[in-house]
Structure formats: structure tokens, C-alpha cells
Symmetry: C2
Subunit: 202 residues, 2 copies
């Protein structure tokens, strides 16, 4: 006869469904929410509701948006000549933080994965090909993750681009050793990439 109230048990089971949260962390969060002001706890609840009611995918690039177009696609200051292909909306955030990119994006909403039965149809690849076909892109940057699945997704897209009359140049993010790190921490694969993509010092 465990003596939690029904609402608390329900709330714990909802938090347990979140990624990275086990039973213990869900319980700790529940006790925290019980303790704090009602207004503070409702701010959390309302923020989730607001996201589910306001946020959708940009109809151009599948980034997160609160209108038809996302902030990048709406901006008149972005170049429409370069397109950067990423797996997830959060990748855009990381790239934007570098301040090094002024083109537009395309979010695949995942990567191809035979193991998880994720096929091209479940990603936004068809929309990507249409954008490139009818666009004026001189370069497409493949910024999928440097993993087997990320690479395979990039190669699949590159093969689809081969037949386009206006096929743009395709590049990928540089790979190598990590700035500010120590070569001792680099694994063989990183060093192999760093060697094969070595750069002339000017």
C-alpha cells in the first residue's frame, strides 16, 4: 500500500517517460514541484502547452517555427545560394552559434537507419530535392552527424542530386582534431581524418 496520492503518482509516471529521467529523478522532480509555488509549477505546465500549441515546422526548411516560416527563412539577410542540410532543428542552433554561416538550412528530421527502419520517405528528402531543383543553390553543405548513419544519409542524398541539371557543389563539414584539445585524446579515426584532410599553412 504505497501512500502517494493518485495525482502525484500520475505526474511521476509522466516525467518518467521523458528521455534521461528514471524513476528516482522523476520522483525528485515531483517532490520539487510539490514544494514550490503553484504559479511557478504552472509556468512549467503552461510552457509545454504553449509549445504544443504554437510550434510547428517551417514549411520551407522544417526548422522549428511559430509562423509559416522560421526565423532563418523569414530573414532577408540570409543568402539563398548556400543550403546547409542538418538532421535536427537543434543542429541549426549550434551552427548559428558559430556566427560563421549566413545561408539557409534544410532539416531532414532524422537520418536514414536500416536498423530503426527509417527510410527516405520518413525524412524530408523529397522536399529537399524539390528545393534544390527549383532553387539557385551553388553549394549544398552536408552537415549530417559524423556517424555511419549520418554519412549514409548524406551519400544517399548526394546520389539523388547526381541527376539534377542544376546540380550544386556538395561539401561536408571538415573533420579532424579538436581545437583546444590534445592530440593524445584523439582516436585513430579522428587522426586519420585529420591526416587525409590536412591543410596547407599559408
Amino acid at each position: 500500500m504505497p501512500e502517494l496520492t493518485e495525482s502525484v503518482a500520475q505526474m511521476i509516471s509522466e516525467f518518467e517517460k521523458l528521455p534521461g529521467l528514471g524513476k528516482k529523478s522523476a520522483e525528485r522532480i515531483a517532490y520539487h514541484l510539490l514544494k514550490i509555488d503553484k504559479a511557478e509549477a504552472l509556468a512549467l505546465a503552461d510552457s509545454v502547452r504553449a509549445v504544443k500549441e504554437n510550434v510547428r515546422y517551417c514549411k520551407e526548411c522544417y526548422n522549428l517555427a511559430e509562423d509559416e516560416l522560421c526565423a532563418v527563412c523569414k530573414s532577408p539577410n540570409r543568402s539563398r545560394n548556400v543550403l546547409c542540410v542538418v538532421e535536427q532543428p537543434q543542429d541549426i542552433l549550434l551552427l548559428e552559434q558559430t556566427g560563421q554561416y549566413d545561408g539557409v538550412y534544410h532539416v531532414l528530421l532524422g537520418r536514414l537507419s536500416p536498423l530503426e527502419k527509417i527510410t527516405p520517405e520518413q525524412l524530408t528528402i523529397a522536399a529537399l530535392l524539390n528545393r534544390i531543383k527549383s532553387g539557385t543553390f551553388s553549394e549544398v553543405i552536408m552537415a549530417t552527424n559524423p556517424t555511419v548513419e549520418g554519412d549514409q544519409t548524406a551519400f544517399y542524398i548526394i546520389r539523388q542530386l547526381e541527376s539534377l541539371p542544376n546540380k550544386p557543389n556538395v561539401t561536408r563539414l571538415a573533420r579532424g582534431i579538436v581545437t583546444g584539445s590534445d592530440i593524445r585524446f584523439a582516436n585513430t579515426e579522428m587522426l586519420a581524418d585529420a591526416l587525409s584532410e590536412r591543410q596547407l599553412i599559408r
Copy 2:
């Protein structure tokens, strides 16, 4: 120019306030909530709202309750002769899971802490003394945590009980080595407790 939408940024900042969640985990949760069905995400929001609207403290023992009295205090099957004093409502859950206790509880809602400026007035100690004064308890079990602050809280309460005409016996949870563990993992304090509270084998 970070390109999260305003609602998503707001939601991440709300999750970051939860104990044990940093920026990275809050973001991971946010992307999960973005991905899942609206109904599923709203179930989380609604569970928090329901708790803040329905859950209060039992007016008898300060356990969590959805009515005036908690499930333990409402039960006709619990002995009113033994009272177990705990720091938090969640401690009741752990003790109930043992199936070894059929008395009632009193939740202090914390422990005395000079460091955190938690004084007797901020706990439910006055209510506890009133309950004992006007009750028929033959035993009070001090089940505060086996820490300096938990012990000091218990000793403070025991001193207050000295002057009562109907002073009950006061016991505390046994301390010693851990069932199923190995003596090598016990620290000095655990072994000292285990020695000084050693039991006759019958």
C-alpha cells in the same frame, strides 16, 4: 542569432529550473516534447496542473493528501498507538514498501538546520507535540535521516517530549551493516553502529 522559437526557449528555461536538470538535459527533453503527439505532451502539462490543484498536506500528519486526511490517516486498519516521525512525505512511501509498519506517521516537512536557518517553527514540530500530548501513543519512532541534522532534529523533539505527563517510549531505526552487502563496503561509522547495537542471536 540563436534560432529557437520563443516558446521552445521558454520551455527549456522552465525545465532547467528542475532539480538535476542542466541546460543539455532540458534541451533533450524539449526536443522530445516537440516530437511526440500533442496529447502525450499535454498529459505531462496536465499532470503538473492536477497536482498543484488537488494535492495538499494531510491536516493530521502532513503526509500528501487529496482530501483533508491522507490515505494512512483515513485507514481504520492502522494502529493509533505507534507514531513514526519522518522528515518528508516520500519517506512514508519507503517505509510502507517494507510492509512492516501498521502505525501512523508524522511528517516534519524538513529537518532542523542551523546552516540553512531552518528552525523548529518552520517544521511541524508544534503540531507533533500537540498530537502526542492529546493522543494515546505508547511509542514514537524517530525515523529522521541518519545524518547530523536528522539526529539533531530527533534529539530536539525528544527533549520537548521529556516534560509531557504521557511521555511515550521513543525509539529510533536500527543502524548497522547493510543486509546483502559486504563488510568490506561498510565505513567506520556503520561498523561502530553495528557493534554498539549488536544483537543477541536467539
